[in-house]
């Protein structure tokens, strides 16, 4: 008996504020010298006090509104108390029973289907990030640990879903949609690898036909969409096997081990900590009135759906192309950059969605870091338009541009692979080909129209694709016509 999969997600987003949640330290801490982005407040030095960053609230509000949540008028910050060296105050300022927003949802529209799935959002709240421990190990043993507080106090948005997700695929689809949304809203850059978007999952198996949920486990440490899919699948399988064998699933927190490809127990819920939440006395209640919500809505950045409509109207794209371009915010941005300097929008879209996307996905590269910038792509398209290179050559040039970071013009000049548009040169080659493939010429003359394409192909092959196909076709037809007239 298989049982239904029940998954709920807990997502943490680092908000794209300029400064930390409760002090003026910069949030640009990635790859910086340890503890260089700190002050008495985010170090939790004695006597320091937090002052709430209004921008963090605004970004959180955007996300809460986009997730169709009810925004609480009065927000209370709570202290979550626990000891750990990366937590300098020994408590995290978070939200507890009066969070920013509750009761939202996100619709997942399935491809090629009119069906939509509703994933409910339980709550959305603000909290601060902790620092990071760095362990010095020798022969597998920790010799000493250092702590870096650069991340301490980075604003986080926690989003908790209801257990509405029913497969690892759906979890990934949900996260991709959420990520795209927060990227559109400039709320979070959504980088799983760097931890600006983190996801923990609660998983259980419900006996079919029964309302009660099975015992859940929480899985942590999944740093990519791939990892999430693999970890969830592993955990589902593990729980199913336990149930089948009549064993019980222990409620515990499990860690995904990317290398081993499995989850392992971290701590069980029995030893769960009592966080002794109580209202943070150093912060006043945060009141979010209707004006603030209305103002936030008014200043909403363009969302994918709106962008898609605009692409269809302004750029005359097909519904399909437009949808694919807005699926990832940076892709649409790239497209728009190109449209500003090149008028054939359809052609841009084709190149992005075809060759470029292919290269990007092969190298698992974000288009924001694409070595071929939008203007470089346009340069390539112009070479095609001027008939300096063929479409086919252009594809291989793009690949080289992608690999080397050089411009199309440079690559074309260097390799001498400009298109042969010299009529005489092509004529000479045609003469050659007609001799070699005389039976095919006869086939064509006897009415097999398609035979000519074979001959064009041979010319192209001979010139390594450098001949201009239209020109070849015309010249071939001309030449054969002359021969048959003469004979």
């Amino acid at each position: 008996m298989p049982g239904d999969i029940v998954i709920g997600l807990e997502i943490h987003l680092q908000l794209l504020t300029r400064t930390k949640m409760f002090c003026h330290c910069s949030t640009e801490y990635i790859d910086q010298k340890p503890n260089s982005h700190t002050c008495p407040v985010c170090l939790g030095l004695p006597g320091s006090l937090p002052v709430l960053n209004k921008k963090a609230v605004e970004l959180a509000l955007r996300a809460a509104i986009a997730l169709n949540c009810h925004i609480n008028n009065t927000n209370i910050f709570h202290r979550k108390n626990y000891f750990y060296p990366d937590l300098p105050k020994a408590y995290q300022i978070s939200q507890y029973n009066q969070p920013l927003a509750v009761n939202g949802f996100l619709m997942l529209k399935e491809e090629n289907s009119s069906e939509s799935r509703k994933i409910r959002i339980n709550r959305v709240h603000l909290e601060e990030d902790a620092g990071k421990l760095v362990h010095w190990e020798k022969e597998g043993k920790i010799v000493y640990s250092l702590v870096d507080y650069n991340r301490s106090g980075i604003p986080l948005l926690e989003i908790v879903t209801e257990p509405d997700i029913c497969s690892s695929e759906e979890a990934v689809i949900f996260l991709q949609k959420l990520r795209n949304m927060v990227q559109y809203l400039d709320v979070c850059d959504g980088n799983l690898e760097k931890g600006s978007l983190r996801c923990d999952a609660n998983i259980s198996i419900r006996e079919r036909g029964k309302g009660r949920l099975g015992t859940k486990t929480e899985v942590k440490n999944m740093n990519s969409f791939r990892a999430i899919r693999l970890a969830l699948d592993y955990e589902i399988k593990r729980q199913r096997r336990l149930i089948e064998q009549g064993e019980i699933v222990v409620q515990e927190t499990r860690r995904w081990d990317e290398v081993a490809g499995k989850t392992s127990a971290m701590r069980s819920k029995e030893e769960a900590q009592d966080y002794r939440y109580f209202p943070e006395p150093d912060l006043l209640p945060l009141v979010i009135n209707q004006n603030w919500i209305a103002e936030t809505k008014k200043n909403f950045p363009e969302l994918p759906e709106q962008k898609k409509e605009r692409f269809i109207t302004n750029f005359k794209l097909s519904e399909y192309d437009a949808r694919r371009l807005v699926e990832v915010k940076s892709l649409g941005d790239y497209f728009e950059q190109a449209t500003q300097i090149y008028p054939d929008y359809k052609k841009i879209a084709n190149w992005i969605l075809g060759e470029l996307l292919h290269l990007l996905s092969e190298g698992d590269i974000d288009i924001k870091k694409c070595p071929v910038t939008a203007s470089r792509l346009v340069e390539l398209l112009l070479l095609i338009d001027r008939k300096i290179i063929s479409n086919k050559i252009a594809k291989s040039i793009l690949e080289q541009m992608f690999r080397t970071g050089q411009s199309a013009t440079d690559l074309v000049e260097k390799s001498g692979i400009t298109q042969i548009s010299n009529k005489q040169e092509i004529d000479d080659i045609i003469e050659h080909i007609i001799k070699d493939y005389w039976p095919t010429v006869e086939d064509y003359c006897s009415g097999k129209d398609k035979a000519i394409h074979f001959l064009v192909g041979q010319v192209m092959k001979y010139t390594k694709g450098r001949a201009q196909p239209d020109l070849v076709l015309n010249l071939l037809k001309e030449r054969i016509k002359k021969i048959s007239e003469n004979s």
């Binding site: 170090l43 004695p46 006597g47 006090l49 002052v51 060296p85 109580f278 150093d282 912060l283 006043l284």
Partner: protein
């Protein structure tokens, strides 16, 4: 007369007239500290070199300029729970031994900007948890009026220093009476302004929702001078309130016949020492003579204030003091290389018995399953007490009561019995629960032992002006009380 005996008002006038120099005053003060403090133990740190250096610098400014900074080199003692840049700040705890803050508390910053000089850091009950100064991990400050007795707490070091002329004025903090009680025990003026009136930034938190910086001085006008400097909104403290700051000095003027006083009968009932009651009643007669209208009133829920106060204070303390974990600063005891072991040893050896008691009680009160019964209920009581005060302040401008139910007690008398110790604060802590301003002023002495007795004046939120005005009027009437100084004859005993 030694210049450390000056009041702030006299000091400022003499400096303005160029009759004295800052250096002379600082030197006299340090000389006096060196003579007295071996016995009194008011100071944990004396800022010798830095204070003298600042004094010389200020003297130069004063000599050359017409514009003298408002505090003009005034020596100020600072309770060692307030962060001072570059000066060790210990909270009288072993766990903060060696902690040198890289920044000044906002109050210290404002004092320095106004030309004040930090003369030293004063002793306190460890983390301000106590009413006698006996819980300090370093020393017990003695009461200058009787060195067998406590100076009160927790700002006992500041109060004793002011009373014994070891400084001209001092900063304290008041969470449940920690400025007013020692002011009462040491016969000086102590004010705790409205919660939110003075920035808490840089004040090491005991109970964040109750803590407030206060001032201990030799006279009412003295504290008003410093109020003018340190009060006011601070963007670094979210709980500081953005209201305009009046000129408190000008509120020290004559006339109180427009004011109505309430006497909460609960503050005159059982447990009140007869001589304290007698002196306070005398003072009430005086208020009537001065034209004030005095009536008995009631704060019906006040009997629940003490348990509610201690639950809230300890709950907040349990969280506030968790950061002293040996990781970043202060004491760390690590011998096993195990994190939990380091936490346990550092905290159990670095924190004193009273602090550990309060952390444990506070932790318990916040624990899941007990939160509603203790912490939440205490917060509800707090609301009721606020409401009680709101009600009486509809009718009265100010409330009058004793500061402490008893005169200063003997060293060692109450330390073994925490409940009796807690009861010392029974008249002061409701004021913190309600966030109101309160002031203690000396209203006389016990007959036989000549111990100071404090009168407490409580006002509406942000109405410190009225409190100061009443205190000033009483002070004018009690010139002989103000003139009386502790007899430091013990110093001779010491030298024998």
């Amino acid at each position: 007369m030694s210049l450390n005996e000056l009041t702030v008002i006299d000091y400022l006038e003499m400096i303005r007239k160029r009759e004295i120099t800052v250096e002379q005053v600082i030197k006299d003060t340090i000389k006096h500290i060196d003579r007295v403090d071996e016995v009194l133990k008011s100071y944990l740190y004396i800022n010798r070199e830095e204070a003298l250096k600042e004094a010389k610098k200020l003297d130069k400014t004063i000599k050359n300029n017409k514009d003298i900074p408002p505090l003009a080199g005034l020596p100020i003692a600072v309770k060692d729970i307030i962060c001072t840049k570059g000066i060790e700040t210990t909270c009288a705890s072993k766990i903060l031994k060696g902690f040198i803050p890289p920044y000044d508390a906002t109050v210290v910053k404002r004092i320095k900007e106004a030309g004040g000089i930090i003369i030293g850091k004063t002793n306190l009950d460890e983390f301000a948890m106590g009413s006698s100064n006996e819980s300090s991990a370093y020393q017990v400050t003695l009461n200058p009026w009787d060195i067998t007795r406590v100076p009160g707490g927790s700002s006992g070091g500041s109060a004793a220093a002011v009373a014994a002329d070891e400084t001209l004025i001092a900063l304290g903090t008041d969470t449940g009476g920690s400025v007013r009680l020692p002011a009462s025990f040491c016969g000086v003026v102590g004010i705790k302004p409205t919660y939110g009136r003075i920035s808490r930034f840089g004040v090491i938190a005991y109970a964040s929702s109750l803590d407030q910086v206060g001032i201990l001085g030799k006279g009412v006008k003295d504290v008003a001078v410093l109020m003018n400097i340190i009060c006011g909104y601070d963007s670094l403290d979210s709980t500081s309130v953005n209201v305009s700051v009046p000129d408190f000095l000008s509120s020290c003027r004559e006339g109180i016949n427009d004011l109505k006083f309430g006497l909460p009968r609960e503050f005159f009932s059982q447990g009140l020492h007869s001589e304290v009651k007698e002196k306070v009643m005398k003072c009430i007669d005086k208020l009537c003579q001065l034209g004030g209208k005095v009536e008995e009133t009631s704060l019906p829920n006040i009997e629940y204030a003490l348990p509610a106060y201690y639950l809230i204070a300890m709950a907040e303390a349990s969280s506030n003091l968790a950061k002293f974990d040996g990781v970043q600063y202060g004491l760390r005891i690590e011998d096993s290389g195990d994190l939990e072991d380091m936490y346990l040893k550092t905290r159990s050896q670095g924190l004193g018995a009273e602090v550990i008691r309060r952390i444990m009680l506070g932790t318990y009160a916040l624990s899941s399953g007990y939160y509603d019964a203790y912490y939440l209920k205490a917060q509800k009581v707090r609301t009721l007490i606020k409401r009680d005060f709101d009600n009486v302040f509809q009718k009265y401008d100010l409330l009058i009561c004793p500061t402490s139910p008893v005169p200063p007690f003997k060293v060692g008398e109450r330390i073994a019995d925490p409940i009796t110790m807690f009861l010392t604060d029974v008249y002061t802590l409701p004021v913190n629960l309600a966030g109101l301003p309160g002031l203690s002023i000396n209203c006389g002495f016990t007959n036989r032992e000549n111990l100071p007795i404090g009168l407490q004046i409580i006002g509406r939120s942000f109405e410190e002006e009225k409190i100061l005005r009443v205190a000033y009027n009483l002070e004018q009437e009690w010139k002989e009380i103000k003139a009386k100084k502790p007899n430091l004859s013990f110093l001779k005993d010491q030298s024998l």
